[in-house]
Subunit: 518 residues, 2 copies
């Protein structure tokens, strides 16, 4: 290495320290990678996967080691993109490398694996070391698995929620009444948030909504809002928008709210692990970080939705209410019918068109109805409507055009075109209709396969890709009639989606015999 | 991409396929990384961490996606080193990229998390997909955590063992009687293998020993043998050596025996997770893969060793015997005193010197004694000595010089200098003595801190680094007398080790009051 010296630091595994030249590498990997020359690595007992401390100016981070013979020279380290940003690094600057000790969290993760309840301070250490990059995927996956297998106590959920809130920034609107809304997800086309937020904001209540992008569905609220305006804002910008309009619809992942949660979600994804304790903490932390004190949670139950069982939904709902109260939030839970998609369009632009139509009082009835029910309940919770009068008030805010005007204000503040009309929004220029091959009654659509089909067609990356449903569940269908249309932005993607679809049952016509064997 | 076409493959997630130019990148990362240009990635819904299938000629592998703006162009993918080797790739060759479906293992890993016993076929799918690179660290860590938390049944251990054996090659010596030996580890300086193998081989029994390198200790048997000869051999070379000399001492990690095990160990390391079921399967698979049918297992118990409790050791030992029998192996277990290091030297070269001295009948008594006891028991198991006569026979093989001659033959076959003498072996040219600061009786050394000290001084990478113990447990020590000597290959490493040592209690002098509080 260029320089090597031993410092009299307090912690013994910290005293080995080198100074190197940094070389920026144009590789984005979702991890904090630092590339060492093999010669340096052998000399210093550093190996692939080893973790080192990095210091540049007053910024510190932990890097995971990759090795090379030629890409960087001895005395130089290559810094991948994710770390460059974290360290604020420009090429050829000097960087300090430190040996670090084993993360303290390892003890607590093992403790949780051994079925021992963690103290708040222990949970907070795990979240803190997670944020500082001390913990790799292996440690985090073990932590999440332990939570999944052993469960967590109510105290632990509160500890997790508090630590996740502390891991990021908070919004601090400085207002007394702050509402929020969350849906557990799984229902295709379910864009109630984009109808509800303008209704609530138009009623004079602050609703700083941070939404997510899709992971496995055809569109998240953030993906859909992105059709109309910007969604990637800092905390300060978000605060500014909400102070002006009472509401916003931004992408939570772009803010620094509840940051640890984004990292935990990445770990939960490959195995679709949704341990209840983490789900509760994750959602409650997001609400708490925006200062929400009146929250409504929508838990859809049904075939193809995330939850399939009323008992599970009731138990989860009860936990939300109880733990929310302990965290200083008034929470109401609505368990909703999640058997079928909501609205006519599935996919960012198609869902946007549904939302704009509902706001203009001519959209799909189910989306309007569900939005008004949930918004109404929230108005009642916040004391803006008398008990039992919320739905009527939400409807009248819609009918008066106040919600549409509010949405236009939010779109404008978020940098979009406030005069946007549904007809302005471009949908995929390749499409194909799906035709019924017999007469029958439409039982319904399968949320999961509808989402997969829309994704196969390009959604949510291709904003104009998706599915338009022509028939409603319960409706009679005649052979040769169109049931739905698949939109894509290129012929090859349309072709791919249609081929994929051959294996899936996206809709069901009523039949007596479901399968025959033998 | 350069070319894009849709193939009529059977599996729908397989039909999307592109052909790209490959660019080899000089980065070693321990993972199968493939670097996409961001433009290609967006177009094809590929993101950081996404897994794609790669095909080059008749070789296939799974790659994990990193992204770049400039390092590769659209239509080109960068291939990191680990994947280059796997695909046998040369620069600018064409490579096929395929979308793949979710690994089947995910279902079984979740099943194990849900406390349901896995069938042999399910375990074998997990191991198979692990070997094919379908599973990332997150999935594997979840699998290992589930095994740690929920335990495994005897049937599952057998399933795991069989799958691990099948994941690699087998030695197939074509001999009737094959012996092997394993130590659970944790005792510093414990090089009985290097004394025992030549004794057993000299007695005419095949003992194809595949040893490991150190992970957290000052030296593994493989690190120590490397001072004397090569250790990195193919299965064919290993077979050749054993056919000539009856024995070998090679590095298991360099062979293709029980390959899945190496990948599982990597996952177990960060949290030091040693779930009993995996430990059993891992060790038994290694023995089975060399065809061993008579195996002796050394389980040291004591402060600083891996096991601290007789009950745990007895239970583990009983499992080895029982499951070994079901797998067609006769297994004897010896539970040994693991409270103190064995031999005088700690660190590859210093341990080598002990071994050569014992083989020449003038080495440390404890190493000789322990080696003869274990070797004697193995001779009895194999029917080469009568019950109760094994120890005497092992001793006489040592005394006759037959074991030393056998070791020289093995060293020569493994490419080393068969005339090597202890005095030829270079030890670190920087050293410092640790001096007693009062009179007392030496209670003992702490295995764990002795190992850490030797590592801080540079072992096992610096072969000549380590510790030489001057006093035996139970011996009287006078103030000012030398207790041990620390060797390093550079002043800075010696300095680092000595600074580190200030925080550790490497040895204990008898005292009445252990601590004072208040």
């Amino acid at each position: 290495m260029v320089e090597k010296r031993l410092l009299g630091k307090k912690d013994v595994w910290d005293i080995k320290q080198y100074v190197c030249k940094a070389k920026r590498l144009d590789i984005e990997t979702g991890k904090r990678i630092v590339l060492f020359n093999k010669q340096d690595a052998i000399e210093n007992d550093i190996y692939v996967g080893y973790r080192v401390g990095l210091k540049h100016g007053n910024k510190v981070a932990i890097g995971i080691v990759d090795l090379t013979d030629h890409m960087v020279e001895p005395g130089q380290v290559g810094i991948f993109k994710d770390l460059q940003q974290e360290l604020g690094l420009k090429d050829e600057e000097r960087i300090e490398i430190r040996h670090i000790k084993k993360p303290e969290s390892v003890v607590y993760i093992k403790k949780k694996m051994d079925k021992i309840e963690l103290k708040p301070s222990e949970i907070s250490t795990v979240m803190d070391e997670l944020m500082r990059g001390y913990l790799g995927e292996i440690e985090l996956a073990s932590f999440v698995s332990a939570i999944y297998i052993n469960g967590v106590t109510e105290e632990e959920v509160i500890g997790l929620t508090d630590s996740i809130v502390k891991s990021g920034d908070t919004l601090n609107l400085g207002r007394h009444l702050i509402a929020d809304k969350h849906c557990i997800g799984g229902v295709a086309g379910n864009r109630t948030t984009m109808v509800l937020v303008p209704i609530i904001a138009a009623a004079g209540i602050s609703i700083p909504k941070a939404s997510s992008r899709s992971i496995t569905s055809a569109a998240g609220t953030a993906d859909t809002m992105e059709v109309l305006s910007g969604i990637d804002f800092s905390i300060e910008e978000m605060r500014h928008i909400v102070k002006k309009a009472n509401g916003c619809i931004v992408w939570g992942g772009g803010t620094t709210l509840a940051s640890a949660d984004d990292l935990l979600i990445k770990i939960r994804h490959p195995l679709s692990l949704d341990p209840k304790g983490l789900l509760l903490a994750s959602i409650l932390a997001k609400k708490k970080s925006v200062g929400a004190n009146h929250v409504i949670i929508d838990i859809p139950v049904g075939m193809g939705a995330k939850l399939h069982d009323m008992a599970d939904a009731n138990a989860l709902g009860a936990d939300f209410v109880k733990i929310g109260r302990r965290l200083g939030m008034s929470i109401d839970v609505l368990i909703t019918d999640g058997n079928n998609p909501i609205g006519r369009g599935i996919g960012p632009t198609l869902e946007c068109i549904d939302v704009l139509n509902v706001l203009a009082n001519n959209g799909p009835g189910d989306l309007r109805e569900k939005s008004c029910i949930i918004a109404g309940r929230l108005l009642e919770m916040c004391g803006k409507a008398k008990k039992g009068r919320g739905y009527a008030q939400a409807s009248s805010i819609l009918e008066s055009g106040a919600a549409l005007r509010k949405m236009r204000q939010i779109i404008e503040l978020q940098g979009g075109d406030s005069d946007v009309k549904p007809a302005d929004l471009p949908i995929g220029n390749c499409h194909e209709d799906i035709i019924a091959d017999r007469n029958g009654k439409l039982v319904g659509y399968d949320n999961r396969t509808i989402s997969r089909l829309a994704r196969a067609a390009g959604a949510p990356n291709d904003k104009g890709a998706g599915i338009l449903l022509f028939k409603e569940p319960g409706e009679k269908v005649r052979s040769g009639e169109k049931i739905m249309r698949v939109y894509a932005e290129s012929e090859s993607k349309l072709d791919f989606a249609l081929k994929a679809m051959k294996k899936w049952e996206t809709y069901t016509l009523k039949k007596i015999i479901l399968n025959e064997l033998g």
